[in-house]
Symmetry: C2
Subunit: 243 residues, 2 copies
Amino acid sequence: MRFTSEQRLDGGVLEREFTLGEIPGILWTPASASAPAPLILLGHPGGLHKIRPRLVARARHSAEHGFASATIELPGSGDRPRSAVAEQARADVRRAVEAGEPVDEEIVDRLILPLVEKAVPEWQAALDALLSLPEIGGPVGYSGGVIAIGVRLAVVEPRISAAVLFAGSFVPRATFEEARQVTIPLHVLLQWDDEGNDRQAALDLFDAFGTKEKTLHANLGGHTGVPQFEGDPAAQFFTRHLS
Amino acid sequence: MRFTSEQRLDGGVLEREFTLGEIPGILWTPASASAPAPLILLGHPGGLHKIRPRLVARARHSAEHGFASATIELPGSGDRPRSAVAEQARADVRRAVEAGEPVDEEIVDRLILPLVEKAVPEWQAALDALLSLPEIGGPVGYSGGVIAIGVRLAVVEPRISAAVLFAGSFVPRATFEEARQVTIPLHVLLQWDDEGNDRQAALDLFDAFGTKEKTLHANLGGHTGVPQFEGDPAAQFFTRHLS
């Protein structure tokens, strides 16, 4: 991991860009950290530049609760090389949505499963690097982003102790099966009127999670309309499980 | 309204029992109230004696956020005269549940609709009396209890500005229609594995509410297992809308 830039944000949060091999990433650490800070991995839909203002807002909010935050670019997004398979699947999704048709399970599998296969080891490598920094301690939480990536990480990465998942992306069939293996506490956000999201699939996925502590917070509104007041229960969830 | 007893609880909350005609009730006011306190009406399933410890816990939590709380006994519960119709419906519910059969919509209507018809004017009369006390101001919230009572109050009582509803009781068919007329902000709690509750009906009811701001918080566990951490988002909801 190589740091490539460093700046203090208003309020004192330290923001550092880094690269991990070819993968760009960003680390935010709280202004005053006397002890190593617990870490939250910030998931996102891909495209760090575009999503950055929202990531910074989430990182600031986490820092107020004493958490460091970090993210890396997804495979095939932002400045990273495109995948022909994913681009084809994306075009197929667009075509279905524009035609007002449901998006075929087979297309979802082609879009999401290779992404999960590639992204998850990268987040694990980022975790190795981040946890070697003296200012970062455990435990680790995962928050948001492509839900299939969050589910896979929750199953395969024992260093992740709790996850806030956003039920706002396509769910491959295999992810419902994987969900049964999740045993860490989950806090799931659902936008009730999310245009691109199948509400029943989101509720079925919530039902499928094998964990003993799971909470669903659903709010009226579209994909990007998660109300600001949902930030506090999510932070309190991480405080309960990562502090 | 006639006060019949008065005591200070640990922490300073003033607890006063009262009667409103034949109806017993309890009022809790915060220890230090410089201005008239906003009021939360505490709904419950009926039977003040049995439910009292949980009501006191809710009233204390509300007092910490500056709210007064009040409740009255439901018709046909506690020391109030039984209704033959409701007792018959209750027996029919028991028979269905013991036989492992779904509870017929017609039985639910017989159990709940007369209760709503009788209880709602009583809560409104209690509100008249409570709001005439100098230590109680507006605005008013409603919290918990039989959901069909909460829905009717939200529709017919303009002094109620926000409601926390508990999706844990039978929902008569007519309540789904009434739900569309609700326009105040709602915060709905659902226990995902509530034995006596139809989860799909609860989700359908949430979907039906006509209000622009509605939030559903669902947690794993049975009817009485609402996690303690859900107290804070509910209090924050009332703080946003009643303060």
